[in-house]
């Protein structure tokens, strides 16, 4: 199994979700993050300039079997893109093992239900 982590624009989330659903990625976990980057919008609080580069982003992550990886990345790359600076990144890493809490299913079976593909 592989873990995909993507940092994307908030405004793109709905599109990304749908694109992933289309290539068979049903379960996604996501949360709000902030990114420090190269942007240079100064914030001023009570006369003091600060924090010149924080932007709001969504981090989403899903664990999937190898065969889903490529289509998922293609879907992500397409649906999350605006072409302007700040579109974000995708990172892939290895998952050694997984469990479905409800059933105790281990390994690959933790991320798909037999007979439901």
């Amino acid at each position: 199994m592989k873990k995909v982590e993507a940092i994307i624009r908030k405004t793109k989330f709905e599109e990304v979700k749908e694109a992933l659903h289309e290539v068979g990625i049903e379960f996604i976990t996501f949360w709000d993050v902030r990114g420090v980057g190269k942007a240079t919008q100064a914030r001023i609080y009570r006369g003091i300039k600060y924090d010149t580069s924080t932007i709001e982003r969504v981090m989403l992550t899903f664990i999937c079997r190898e065969k889903y990886l490529d289509p998922a990345i293609q879907a992500l790359l397409k649906s999350a893109k605006t072409g302007a600076v700040g579109d974000g990144k995708i990172f892939i890493s290895e998952i050694l093992d997984g469990y479905r809490i409800r059933t105790g299913d281990q390994g690959d079976k933790s991320v798909y239900l037999e007979g439901e593909e």
Binding site: R9, T11, E14, Q41, A42, R43, I44, E56, A84
Partner: protein
């Protein structure tokens, strides 16, 4: 109960008159404070129904439209609205009460009158803000907010409350369903049309998408505050609290409350039937729709009539929101056009139906209804037309809409350099 002054005790009589005036003045001043408190109500509704990234911008707009409104209306708006009619009742003399400072009194102190009128003017201006939220340039906002308080609101206000042509025609709008609420909404409609929808509001297939508000607790608190403030808005518009006004203000409080309640319940039931579940956001709007609708006739209809007006306003609200949002594709984040425009027009027309003295249902025939329609239309054309011209000019000069990246990342950071939440 109005006092009759006998000639045998002039000093005491004078004292009694004085108290009468003092009571009215006290009442009107307290009503002014209640209406002023509607400002945070509007701010919270708008902030709650929109996204977190634009909250500082929304708060700033609501602070500033009240601040500019207070200055501008004092300086000249009041005079345009309440100066002696010029041009056959089209406008008040703008210099008569310029930079108003008069310690006279009629039924109450002149200062109190200015204050009461000021908070009404600010209400009209602030309504526009909601319809154009999340994408309007702050500098443009300031400019048109000033123009509304300076010109658009006072002139059509003069037509009715300044004793202008609509008033002479017999048009009835007790506390301003049309004169205050609709004016704001029609200007907002022009603005929303010219601005276009927020990015992501309509899919590639043209379908409307939900952009949920970031904090409905704030939205609900705002609606409760507005409901509370409306007890200054409507009963206060009786402009007196003694003599027969004693009973009138109690009655107006009742009709106002019943219409709001009926509006909230009806909107809830409609959403329950239509979307399977009773939804909060539209029920809150329903309460406001009832309040706006009863504003024109709160003095003239019976309690039962008020309930009916609330039901009609609450029933139409969800459909009106869908209509503008999904069919006309006018992106109005807080529903201001439906709540203040549609409901305001509706409530004004319904005076012609439910008025106990000359409404259609009470044997008054179609005459009043016709006059009401003239008022609704003429004010609507004025406000929408002036708004349209204003926004077109702004678009061509100062610019009206923020850049794409600002809208996406949030107006707070780019327009104000500050986040509301940290």
């Amino acid at each position: 109960m109005e006092e009759t002054i006998t000639t045998t005790a002039p000093a005491i009589a004078e004292a009694a008159i004085g108290l009468d005036i003092s009571i009215n003045n006290l009442w009107l001043l307290l009503a002014t404070f209640l209406v002023m408190f509607m400002q945070p109500g509007f701010a919270l509704v708008e902030a709650g129904f929109t996204r977190q990234k634009n909250t500082a911008n929304i708060l700033m707009k609501n602070l500033m439209d009240f601040a500019f409104g207070a200055l501008i209306y004092w300086l000249i708006g009041y005079s345009i609205m309440y100066g002696t009619s010029l041009l056959g009742g089209l406008i008040g003399n703008p210099f008569e009460k310029f930079a108003f400072d008069s310690s006279g009194f009629g039924d109450y102190a002149d200062y109190t009158d200015l204050m009461f009128q000021t908070v009404f003017a600010a209400t009209a201006a602030t309504i526009v803000s909601g319809a154009m939220a999340e994408r309007t340039k702050f500098s443009a906002y300031l400019i048109f907010s000033v123009v509304i308080t300076l010109i658009i609101y006072p002139i059509s206000g003069h037509w009715k409350w300044g004793g202008g042509w609509l008033d002479q025609l017999g048009f009835q709008d007790f506390a301003g369903s049309t004169i205050v609420h609709s004016v704001g909404a029609w200007v907002g409609l022009a603005g929303a049309l010219i601005l276009g929808p927020r990015i992501g509001k309509y899919g590639k297939d043209g379908k409307a998408k939900a952009i949920p508000g970031h904090n409905l607790t704030l939205g609900a608190l705002g609606v409760f505050i507005l409901w509370f403030g409306w007890f200054g808005f409507n009963p206060g518009s009786q402009l007196a609290a003694t003599g027969n006004n004693t009973i009138a203000i109690g009655k107006i409080a009742l009709t106002t409350n019943l219409a709001a309640a009926a509006g909230a319940i009806t909107a809830m039931l409609i959403t329950w039937a239509r979307y399977k579940r009773p939804t909060l956001s539209l029920s809150l709007n329903g309460a406001l729709a009832g309040l706006v609708a009863i504003t024109a006739g709160c003095d003239a209809v019976s309690p039962g009539g008020a309930v009916l007006i609330g039901i009609i306003a609450g029933a139409i609200l969800p459909f009106s929101v869908e209509l503008f949002d999904q069919y006309f594709k006018v992106d109005d984040p807080v529903g201001a056009i439906s709540v203040h425009g549609v409901s305001g027009a509706l409530g004004t027309l319904l005076v012609g139906v439910f008025s106990l003295t000359d409404g259609l249902f009470y044997g008054g025939g179609f005459k009043l209804l016709g006059i009401q329609a003239v008022g609704v239309l003429s004010v609507g054309i004025w406000a929408f037309g002036m708004g349209y011209i204003l926004f077109k000019v702004l678009k061509a000069t100062n610019g009206l809409r923020v850049e794409r990246i600002i809208e996406e990342e949030g107006l707070d950071v780019y327009e104000h350099g500050e986040n509301a939440y940290n």
